[in-house]
Amino acid sequence: MTDQTTLLSVRNLRTEFKTQNGPVRVVDGVSFDVGRGRIVGLVGESGSGKSMTALSLMGLVPSPPGRVNADSIQLNGTDLARLNSDEMRRRRGREVAMVFQEPMTSLNPVKTMVQQVGEPLAIHTNLGKRAIREKVLRMFETVGIPEPAARLDVYPHQLSGGLRQRAMIAMGLICEPQLLIADEPTTALDVTTQAQILRLMMALRDKVGTAIVMITHDLGIIAEMCDEVNVMYAGQIVEQANVFDLFDRPSHPYTRGLLASIPKATEMRTTARLNSIPGVVPNLANLPNGCRFHPRCADAMPICKLKQPELTDLSNGHKARCWLHDKQGGKA
């Protein structure tokens, strides 16, 4: 399904790491699409493979020990999976950019803001210093940094966490990429700052048309800003749906468990206990047989312990990886 509206199309992405105990597959057969100007969520708990998916797309998985394979990663008709590292470097920052979680550690402490936010321009364009400075200044205005001119020649430690994250976003957007991958961009921030940053990202999507892959563990953020959602568990996508379908009709038991276990800020304290998913996320080096979620699943059937379910379409692109939705009633 690569038509005019599809910007990114990932097929069968597999990322492995060599370890002492043999290869561990941290991303296993991930496929999804991102339409132009769409915001697509990757949600999951720690170790679900969501960040690794992002790093794999960006060509940022260290190799060795890592190895990334995919049937294809089509961005604008180019297959990123077939590019060598030089060709990838020329695209990174220009066509696709990434915003990292930690604005404290992912900025260079010994470079001024204008130097690092302008760096992608220095690499990808032949703009002169003055032109770069001008562009950075305008980008600072766009991302809502107050007194932007005064922030150009300061170092990261002189800015607050919120401003640093805005600067990170400015850096990601400076070459006007069509795709921005944001990995937990607000997790380290306070809630009022988070609200500002999320609003900013949505405004940029509306204004510039940047598509966003939003990686988060927070279903609240997913509900607030995503168009489509991919729920990840143990390296795989277990449910894929339009955001409304996902919240209205969660179809994978893991998604249901996640939704049930969030304390809702709109709901009053009840004496009732929070729903929790029993057990813990499996060790990727030692995955259970069959469905990876079955040891924690209340609805597990005999087949779930034996055979891995495929990601199957339930209706209109709403997909789930679960035997409960198998046409043969899991009797395969």
């Binding site: 708990e45 720690s46 107050p146 607050s160 966490g161 919120g162 401003l163 306070d190 809630v191 009022t192 700052t193 988070q194 609200a195 500002q196 999320l198 609003r199 563990h217 927070d218 279903l219 609240g220 953020i221 997913i222 509900a223 607030e224 800003m225 955001v243 409304f244 919240f247 468990g257 996640l258 939704l259 276990s261 969030i262 304390p263 809702k264 800020a265 709109t266 709901e267 009053m268 304290r269 009840t270 206990r273 929070l274 729903n275 929790s276 998913i277 029993p278 813990v280 996320v281």
Partner: protein, 324 residues
Amino acid sequence: MSEVLISTEGLSKHYPIGSGFFRSQRRVVRAVDGIDLEIRERETFALVGESGCGKTTLGRVMLRLIERTNGTVRYRGQDLHALDDSAMRAMRKKLQIVFQDPYASLNPRMRVKDILAEPLRAHGFGTEAEIEERCGELLDMVGLRRQLLRRYPHQFSGGQRQRIGIARALANSPEFVVCDEAVSALDVSIQAQVLNLLRDLQEQLKLTYLFITHDLSVVRQFADRVGVMFLGRMVEVGTTEEIFSNPRHPYTMFLISAVPRPDPHQRNRERPMLVGDIPSPMNLPSGCRFHTRCPYAQAICRSEEPSLSDHDGRAVACHFPLDR
């Protein structure tokens, strides 16, 4: 209503900041600045606010883990700062804390057994056999198998480690437990398990919690009362129900409205949003500390700091509390 277990009066903690070579006046950061608070037996009191608001410092000063600058902390009427070292040491059995980071707060070189036995030995719990038995009991209480006593922290997941941290806090049967961001580092499905555990333990052991967190969703489902802090001051105190359904301080209102809601059908709701950044605690604004970001600020807010006072049964520190 139950008895007041712990209370503070005018409690402050100021940190001096290194004065420059030529600077003669001493500057201070008012991390906690004149807090009056009462927590009743067996209640869960949540302390919320953004980073740097002083909530963690307040929790620690209340336990006398750090010394106060001014004010008093009373535990069952007893002034904690009037106690000498040995009396304070004995008192510590009753006052415990669960830390945020389950990776950093357990000694990686100690077995679970020794982690749990340390507070018991420190307070002369009994013979080694009794200590061993108590450690097993503690693991039972937090839902871990006794066989795990010989393991090291790295052999546990984050949620299990937090259970060990809770077991350690409970070793000497405390009455008052400060939970400092105790579930913040955990994944949501695990967070729910630990919150349920804390609630069960409160029931069983008649615990009183001071629950320090920045996560308002957790507060709403977990706390009886809530105190909202901003830059070292308490700006609003009320029951959880009141605070969430009818916030009176503008900051509380903005804080609540900023929380993302896990319901896409509500994404287009009207959402008032704060602008700007939190002012530097080293350079506090005059008057109300919130006035630089407050859309309702008037002249008096810039000159006079409002005190926490009663507005129809709610404690609010604002010249013009919201009325809705």
